[in-house]
């Protein structure tokens, strides 16, 4: 027993002798790639930052205007598309951080700070969901019909122990606490390591990742159930949490690839984030493209086969009420095109091409959220029939664009501000040398 304890140091102890560590630090400090200019990006991305902020504010204003001039259901759905894309990008970054820390991944250290910045935006993403919850609760259910508990639907009564306003708010607060803590924890440990050079902090991050990955899985799945699956409270799918997670992981790694490609094009991180790193990140992009398609198809396939009315209604409504084009678009553009392009080794090793594909896949994630959320606005339920709402078609597309771009613009502005705020990589990580020499031997 004592032997086991001796072989497994507690989270605050280190396996690396002091002399080895000092030698590594000296070597890294003397490395020609670690110049101040190469690892800081102050003002470099500013060109994109302010336009994004402007797009964000204009989009949100237009969404509010649309909420009054058209209808609040449509405006809220448009806003949710943006908010959930932003949330999925941040959650994706958090997921990869949890995996990297728990697996003690060495290759990714030079790219890890961007993941940390993405995950550190989780408090913002949670705040972006607050207006949705407030509007739903104050109005007694706008898109989420079950909030406020009106109606004497049999299924709703059966599901009331879970789908009720009080429990919903409690769950929402728990998600906020978990996401904010985990997002803040990794960036603060990593930054503290930069300042103090305390290499035991990596073990603390690994310790956090161990239990954090469980909480991440539960909160992601249940948030997807609460906000997205329960848009139609009759619908249920055990795949739903995984479906949202697949989008998260894909858009998370995509936004990191996009940021790193932009930084490389501006002449930063030269020799630190090389084509070898892009190759591995590209493998992740490819893997989660396939994973998303696998999950999306499995969910659709089982619902199609089993033919249970509560489940099929979700697809029947979309495939026969003018949304079939989106179904085909997602099949082709969210899976087939990236599958054929990113599968190529040369594309994965080229920052410009991979960055373009990453941007394309973020757009596809937005379309995926549109597919999930937007058709529910004019679905012919009792409140929609009473209000006499009609699908506006293309004339309402400005509101959809405004809502999605509003949140994403502000998310992008905050991301750029964060990236510019400090070193672009953890400068004193014990495994930094491993990442700087990273090479794919295939």
């Amino acid at each position: 027993m004592s032997q086991i304890a001796a072989n497994h140091p507690a989270p605050v102890e280190t396996a690396l002798p002091d002399q080895v560590w000092e030698r590594r630090l000296t070597k890294i400090a003397a490395d020609p790639r670690m110049t101040e200019d190469n690892i800081h990006a102050r003002g470099v991305l500013g060109k994109f930052g302010l336009p994004l902020l402007f797009v964000g504010i204009a989009g949100l204003l237009l969404t509010v205007i649309g909420g009054f001039s058209m209808n609040v259901r449509h405006a809220l759905a448009a806003y949710e598309v943006g908010a959930f894309t932003a949330l999925s990008m941040s959650l994706g970054c958090l997921f990869f951080l949890l995996v990297f820390h728990s697996l003690n991944a060495g290759w990714v250290i030079t790219c890890r700070r961007v993941f940390e910045h993405g995950a550190a935006l989780l408090p913002f993403c949670w705040l972006a969901l607050v207006p949705i919850v407030v509007i739903e609760v104050v109005n007694g259910g706008v898109l989420l019909e079950w909030v406020g508990g009106h109606g004497d639907d049999y299924l709703l009564k059966k599901k009331a122990p879970y789908l009720n306003t009080g429990f919903f708010i409690v769950r929402f607060l728990i998600y906020g606490a978990v996401w904010s803590f985990l997002g803040w924890r990794f960036i603060s440990l990593s930054r503290r390591m930069d300042e103090t050079g305390d290499r035991t902090l990596g073990r603390k991050a690994r310790y956090t990742a161990g239990w954090g990955i469980l909480l991440f899985a539960l909160t992601t799945a249940f948030a997807a159930f609460d906000f997205l699956m329960s848009l139609d409270f009759r619908f249920f799918s055990t795949m739903w949490g995984v479906y949202f997670f697949a989008s998260s992981a894909l858009s998370g790694v995509s936004v990191v690839v996009l940021t790193l490609a932009a930084l490389r094009l501006r002449g930063k991180l030269t020799g630190l984030v090389t084509e070898e790193h892009f190759h591995d990140l590209g493998k992740l992009v490819f893997a989660f493209t396939v994973f998303w398609a696998y999950i999306a198809f499995s969910q659709y396939f089982l619902i199609w086969y089993s033919n249970i009315p509560e489940e099929t209604a979700w697809f029947v409504y979309r495939k026969s009420h003018g949304w079939h084009w989106l179904f085909v678009t997602l099949c082709v553009a969210h899976f087939l095109i990236p599958f054929l392009i990113v599968g190529w080794r040369a594309v994965k090793r080229n920052p410009v091409l991979l960055g373009t594909m990453a941007l394309f896949l973020i757009v596809m994630t937005v379309l995926d959220m549109v597919w999930v959320i937007r058709p529910m606005v004019y679905v012919q339920t009792q409140p929609v029939l009473e209000a006499g709402l009609q699908e506006p078609g293309l004339s309402g597309i400005w509101l959809d664009a405004a809502g999605a771009l509003g949140v994403l613009g502000i998310w992008g502005w905050l991301m750029i501000r964060r990236v510019e705020s400090g070193p672009l990589l953890p400068t004193k990580d014990p495994m930094l040398h491993e990442s700087m020499a990273h090479k794919n031997y295939v």
Binding site: F297, Y300, F301, W304, Y305, N307, Y441
Partner: protein, 208 residues
């Protein structure tokens, strides 16, 4: 480049009654077919630079033998990327379309039958089979294509007759240039190996 001759050599090994080996290009003093010339190297760096020299001298049919994988050796040897991915893509597309065709022709054309009220020839139930068959065909193409391109498995290799060859599983590296190489010239090769620091340069005979 050597895929076809590898396949021919393997076929001659398995079916000597069907495929005749090409006549020897060089014959040793004892009258046997010459397989090639080997040289021994004692260090990784030596064999790495020797491989670069052999590559630059323009030899095509030769190989490096090592007890462990040497990173970057494919660059030092100038090995071209394998054609196997093309074979794999072909097999994947073939498996995909074969599965689609087989299912469509049976369940929508030859024997249309209503199952669970689903339409004839719906694409959804075809997908798993299409996926599985493309994976299966790709796996077969990769495995057997790799074996065919390598000329494996073989019953025997002429290098096994060379006593010192067994040290390449322990502490020695070897470079072997085959007599099939169009530039094969024993004197030049001996000079090249000596310049590269090779020792125990030997002509290897093949059983005929």
């Amino acid at each position: 480049m050597s895929a076809l001759s590898n396949i021919t050599a393997a076929a001659a090994d398995y079916f000597p009654m069907l495929v005749r080996r090409p006549p020897p290009r060089f014959i040793s003093e004892s009258g046997k077919r010459v397989y090639g010339i080997v040289a021994e190297f004692s260090e990784t760096t030596k064999v790495y630079h020797a491989a670069e020299m052999v590559r630059d001298a323009g030899y095509k049919k030769w190989d490096v033998h090592s007890p462990f994988p040497v990173h970057g050796m494919e660059h030092a040897m100038g090995v071209k990327p394998t054609k196997l991915p093309l074979l794999a893509v072909g097999a994947a597309v073939g498996g995909l379309s074969f599965a689609a065709f087989l299912q469509w022709i049976t369940s929508a054309y030859l024997y249309p039958m209503v199952v669970q009220g689903k339409p004839y020839g719906a694409w959804e139930p075809f997908m798993p089979i299409m996926f599985e068959l493309s994976v299966l065909f790709t796996a077969f193409a990769c495995l057997f294509g790799m074996l065919a391109l390598n000329g494996l498995p073989r019953f025997h290799h002429p290098l096994f007759g060379h006593e010192r060859f067994y040290r390449i599983s322990n502490d020695r590296f070897m470079i072997a240039i085959e007599a099939e190489d169009p530039n094969f010239d024993p004197d030049q090769i001996r000079a090249l190996f000596e310049k590269a620091g090779g020792t125990d340069i030997t002509i290897i005979e093949d059983e005929d």
